[in-house]
Amino acid sequence: LFSTPFSCVSWANLHMDLRAKEKNRQLFRHDTNGVLDKKPQLSLKQEIQELRGCAGCLTSEFNLTDVLFFCRKAMENVVDDDVTKRFSPQKLDSWNLLTRNNHNFCHISLRLKVVWVLGLLLRYGVLLPLRVTLAITGICLFLVLSTLVGVLPNTRLRSCLSDKVHLMGCHICVRSLSAIITYHNRQNKPQNDGICVANHTTPIDGIILANDRCYSLVGQLHGGLLGMIQRAMVTSSPHIWFERAEVKDRHLVAKRLIDHVADKTKHPVLIFPEGTCINNTSVMMFRKSSFELGCTIYPVAIKYDPRFGDAFWNSSKFGLVRYLLRTMSSWAIVCSVWYLPPMNRKEGEDAVQFANRVKSVIAAKGGFVDLKWDGGLKRARVKEAFKEEQQELYSRLVVGVSQGADNAASDSAKES
């Protein structure tokens, strides 16, 4: 079941390579290593002093060559930067017979096109309808059962049943996405007394995790179908939904979270501190609010295999429904989930440092690039404060020396 698409993909790539060689043309491969030959970066101070040294003026406070440092850095960032590529789907080394990944693999041969068309028919004609039917059945079943369980009085039986209903709902949804999940280090699975944090790639992340144990979700109450599902969920299990107005009130949010975590009978809270979907090649800045609460943190790393389907939700490009259609018409969603040992804030560590520590642990496990940049840069401009920081760093090189020169001048004036 699994190996057929895989062998098709391998055959397709081999075929493309051969044909390209026939036509004596270099087959374009997305360079997954970037465009630049990355060498270790020196600090601003080191680079500018090197430049000044070349020009033969080590003692000057400013030199015309200083500008070369910023110039080259800027050009390097035009060609390749660390951030913008995190908000578009991961580029693959080879084609996986999905049209959406076909950026530059233009028409190679008729045979390949036939395979592609067959794949298309299979995915849209067979897999998609099956999966959609399964998903709709699953959601309806979940809504009905969850509401029914919610009617029962608040006893252990009820929580037991509600857990079973939630898990059943997740199992069906996972099947409908053809998700093949491997859980690692199950002994570290989150317990009832803490907050589970994970890197965020897609709304499906929640379902993937909830497939293994029940969590309490946090979020805003929506309208429509999603809102209906949310309300049904909360009748049988304590999720933390906020009205739109309440979301801004950070104290309210914090209080509700703390109260929830303190209650050992309630499930761990699931939070995605990045705040937005990233393309699963890196982990971006973790918002510190979850790390200020003083609760135990259970880090989880989720890594998707991009060869069978792109799980990343590019929310600025298309909406949720289109995303689900794309996901359900891919070959499969293959992912690995690593449960990491629980972490607590150390003495003398502030929330930001703690957040960064957890982030680097997740990045190391999942093989992600650990970035300090904010995921919010997907839509927003970078803050002026960062530019001011650069200006300040440079000014120190200019002022530091000239202050020395001024002191020397005033000293010599005093002497004479």
């Binding site: 270099q26 374009f28 997305h30 360079d31 290593n33 970037g34 465009v35 630049l36 030959d37 060498k39 430049l51 070349c54 020009a55 033969g56 406070e61 400013f62 030199n63 015309l64 060559t65 200083d66 500008v67 070369l68 440092f69 910023f70 110039c71 080259r72 850095k73 800027a74 050009m75 390097e76 960032n77 035009v78 060609v79 390749d80 930067d81 660390d82 951030v83 913008t84 590529k85 578009s88 580029k91 049209t99 950026h103 530059n104 940049w373 840069l377 401009r381 970078v382 960062f386 530019k387 001011e388 920081e389 650069q390 200006q391 300040e392 440079y394 000014s395 200019v398 002022v399 000239s402």
Partner: protein, 195 residues
């Protein structure tokens, strides 16, 4: 999906760019991929906003000047040819190019052209002279609010005094070259592209 055909680079275009800039075939296709990923409007050209969306470029004190260098005089859009032409200045100088036919036109990444690019970062009005005001402008961009006007003024005066040889209180391109004569411009103003 519909405009896919127009976004593919044709072989003839690649050859032309190769001749003009000296980049290799694979470098051009890679840079084209980068160009299209920056082109959010998908219309085949980049605007200043497209550049400013790169956070590391936006926080660079000289970011705006560098972005400006991509755009021809008075224009708001740059196409892929223009993009490559500007990037060509930063291509490393290969050894075999140094012995090329001297009657051929000077390559974009020659030492002289690299220096001219740096000179033009200062000389905004393109009058081939860096005036005191132009120098102050660049200084102000680089230091922000951290240094007073007087101090900056005296730094500018000192710099011009040291570089100015013909006494016109401006730095000409020749005087600029003289100041930078010992700097390894080939290395400092080159980016190492993967082949």
């Amino acid at each position: 999906m519909g405009s896919r055909a127009s976004t593919l680079l044709r072989e003839e275009e690649i050859e032309e760019i190769k001749k003009e800039t000296g980049f290799s075939h694979s470098q051009i296709t890679r840079l084209y991929s980068r160009f299209t990923s920056l082109d959010k409007g998908e219309n085949g050209t980049l605007s200043r906003e497209d550049f400013q969306r790169i956070p590391e470029l936006a926080i660079n004190p000289l970011g705006d000047r560098i972005i400006n260098a991509f755009f021809p005089e008075g224009e708001d859009q740059v196409n892929f040819r223009g993009f490559m032409r500007t990037l060509a200045h930063f291509r490393p100088i290969e050894d075999n190019e140094k012995n090329k036919n001297p009657t051929a036109s000077e390559p974009l990444n020659s030492r002289s052209n690299k220096l001219l690019f740096a000179f033009r970062l200062y000389d905004l009005d393109r009058d081939d002279k860096i005036s005191r005001d132009e120098l102050l402008q660049v200084l102000r961009m680089m230091v922000g609010v951290n240094i007073s006007d007087e101090q900056l003024g005296s730094i500018a005066d000192r710099t011009i005094q040291e570089a100015d040889t013909n006494g016109d209180s401006c730095i000409s391109f020749q005087e600029f070259i003289k100041v930078l004569e010992k700097v390894d411009v080939e290395q400092k103003m080159s980016i190492r592209f993967l082949h």
